[in-house]
């Protein structure tokens, strides 16, 4: 009784398969992710998806502007209030607009405005959405996700 002949397969030697795949360029991946955090859409622009980049830039900048127009405030990194700390961190994920608006004196927050909490929500969610977009840039740049 003889055993069936073994057939070569792609998974026969995973270590060899890994070495034949092109390793992601770490510098390119890092640059794309950093740019995605700095300006929404810039990460997708650098990896060759300008249409998506345009959509992300327009929508997130609109959300950021609405948040400011509604009287939302830029939150401080208050270590004694974890939710405020996380909100501040989320707002900084849209880095350049957050920086420029801060320099321009915007985002002081109109606590008495009816839309104050709406404004905060828009500012925070703009940053959270940009976090998800940055993770997508990472997946695309490393080859974990392939555009169809």
């Amino acid at each position: 009784m003889s055993s069936p002949p073994s057939q070569p397969s792609k998974t026969a030697n995973p270590a060899r398969a890994r070495t034949t795949e092109a390793a992601p360029d770490t510098a390119k991946v890092t640059r794309a992710c950093v740019l995605a955090v700095l300006v929404p859409g810039l990460g997708h622009m650098t990896i060759g998806q300008p249409r998506k980049a345009g959509v992300f830039f327009v929508v997130l900048m609109t959300m950021f502007a609405i948040g400011l127009a509604f009287g939302g405030s830029f939150l401080p990194f208050a270590t004694d209030e974890p939710l405020v700390f996380l909100g501040a961190a989320a707002q900084w994920v849209v880095f350049v607009p957050r920086l420029l608006a801060g320099f321009a004196g915007l985002g002081q927050g109109a606590v008495t405005a009816v839309t104050y909490d709406y404004g905060n929500t828009f500012l925070i969610v703009a940053g959270l959405l940009n976090t998800v977009i940055t993770l997508d840039v990472f997946d695309l740049a490393t080859g974990r996700k392939r555009p169809s």
Binding site: F70, Y118, V125
Partner: protein
């Protein structure tokens, strides 16, 4: 546009546009998914709002 429903619709439009664009590659599919997310957010919030009204109101 400062009513709760108006702001919610604005918010849902922004979020659904981002996720529709992010999760699909073809324009047609992006629009379809975005519309599904948008309608889910708005209708879901409306239903939950009425439920809270009947339960806690």
């Amino acid at each position: 546009m400062t009513t709760h429903l108006g702001v919610m619709i604005l918010f849902a439009a922004c979020v659904s546009t981002v996720f529709g664009t992010l999760l699909r590659d073809q324009v047609r599919e992006q629009v379809r998914l975005g519309a599904q997310i948008f309608s889910s957010l708005v209708v879901g919030a409306y239903v939950v709002g009425w439920l809270m009204y009947f339960v806690f109101g």
